[in-house]
């Protein structure tokens, strides 16, 4: 089996998979290869698709690779298929997701201290959407759950890993950012 053949096989796997495909996933089927070799092949495949520049692109996300439509066609696609599964999260859900993303592992009480409001309903909603996970318990009185973001969170927000999260902004940058917040929400 030459490398071109393997690369095409990897393409197929990525195409049929419902989650981003990781090197570990590939190692299960291509066990004659070393991890580094597979990583090389993936990287070559990634370059190849960039170079082809089609309507579909090969994207590195959530620790793996996934085929996605190029964002400039989003409008055409939502027009074409009105029933398409649309991303919809409320302001509250986004706030809680952001707090968890930056502060994880974090408890419900800690989230509520920051927001100043009860957040249990939103937590249940985010758990159901699989954007967050219960990652354990905090060893304090009552042993509350601690929450973290899931792989689906990274996938949804197009992040390769949590390292891709932008730094929390410093306080002096606030003034500009106040405006435009509501505008951005409308976009959702």
């Amino acid at each position: 089996m030459d490398n071109e053949y393997i690369k095409k096989a990897i393409e197929c796997i990525i195409f049929i998979s419902d989650k981003p495909v990781t090197v570990d996933d590939l190692l299960h089927v291509f066990n004659q290869f070393k991890r580094a070799e597979l990583m090389n092949l993936l990287s070559e495949l990634h370059d190849k698709w960039n170079e082809m520049s089609r309507g579909i692109e090969l994207v590195e996300v959530s620790g793996g690779f996934q085929f996605r439509t190029v964002s400039e066609f989003s409008e055409v696609l939502t027009n074409y298929n009105k029933e398409i599964k649309k991303f919809r999260l409320s302001k509250a859900a986004l706030e809680v997701a952001a707090i968890i993303a930056y502060k994880q592992p974090v408890t419900r009480v800690e989230i509520e201290e920051i927001r100043g409001v009860d957040s249990s309903g939103v937590l249940g909603y985010l758990l159901n959407r699989r954007l967050i996970e219960i990652t354990g318990r905090k060893e304090v009185i009552g042993r509350p759950f601690i929450y973290g973001t899931s792989l689906d969170f990274l996938e949804t927000f197009g992040l390769r890993s949590l390292k891709d999260l932008p730094d929390l902004k410093e306080i002096k940058e606030f003034e500009d950012s106040f405006n435009g917040f509501n505008m951005n929400l409308q976009k959702l």
């Binding site: 419902d18 996605r68 964002s71 989003s74 952001a98 930056y102 009860d118 219960i134 950012s177």
Partner: protein, 243 residues
Amino acid sequence: MDDTCLVKLDLFEGPLDLLLHLIKKNEVDIYDIPIAIISKQYLEYIGLMKVLNFEVAGNYLVIAAELGKIKSKMLLPKSEYEDEEEEDPRDELVQRLIEYQRYKEAVKGLIDNEILGRDVFLSGNRNGNEKTQELELIKPDLWSLIEAFHSIIERRKAELNADISFEAESISLEDKMAQLKDYMVQKRIVHFFDMFENHYTKFEFIITFLALLELVKNRVLKVLQNEPYNYIEIIYLGEDQLG
């Protein structure tokens, strides 16, 4: 207050969100909040929520009380010990607001990304078409376990309710009347509520009550209440007078 305030009311995510909105609207410095003005407006909003029958959550009132406390502290004369760094009574609240605002900012950063289902989309036949919901394979984590447990409880609850009502509905009015008559032959006098002692479903309640009415109509039983609000007694009169 103008109309836009009305529209926005339910858009606030809580008291801190409302405060940030007021600070922004008044274009004041977050490090030097004019507490008197802001707390006045804050209370106006809460008042408006009440007028509009919005449930004003307790946490709004907590912050209202906090604002009142800060306001009164700021009216106190400055401490005479000037060398000691005087703590601004607003500090704690300001820190909270800034912390909260940082995460609101973070949301902005998140939604600027290429979001799955908004900007970019996945292949429609990723799973093949033959798979049904039931056969879906789930990634095991703690939440999947909670979900599974919950779904058993829900399913069993529905099944058990169905069982009970099925059994109950199998009894006819005639059978229930006969049952009730036998019961009264033995007891002679019972309190109204005792008759319903062992009946769990709504259907059983209704059928028993209907049987009672029929037997009263046929003068097998008599309903007696000596005084208003006193016990209602059911008395056995004897064999069916009409039959």
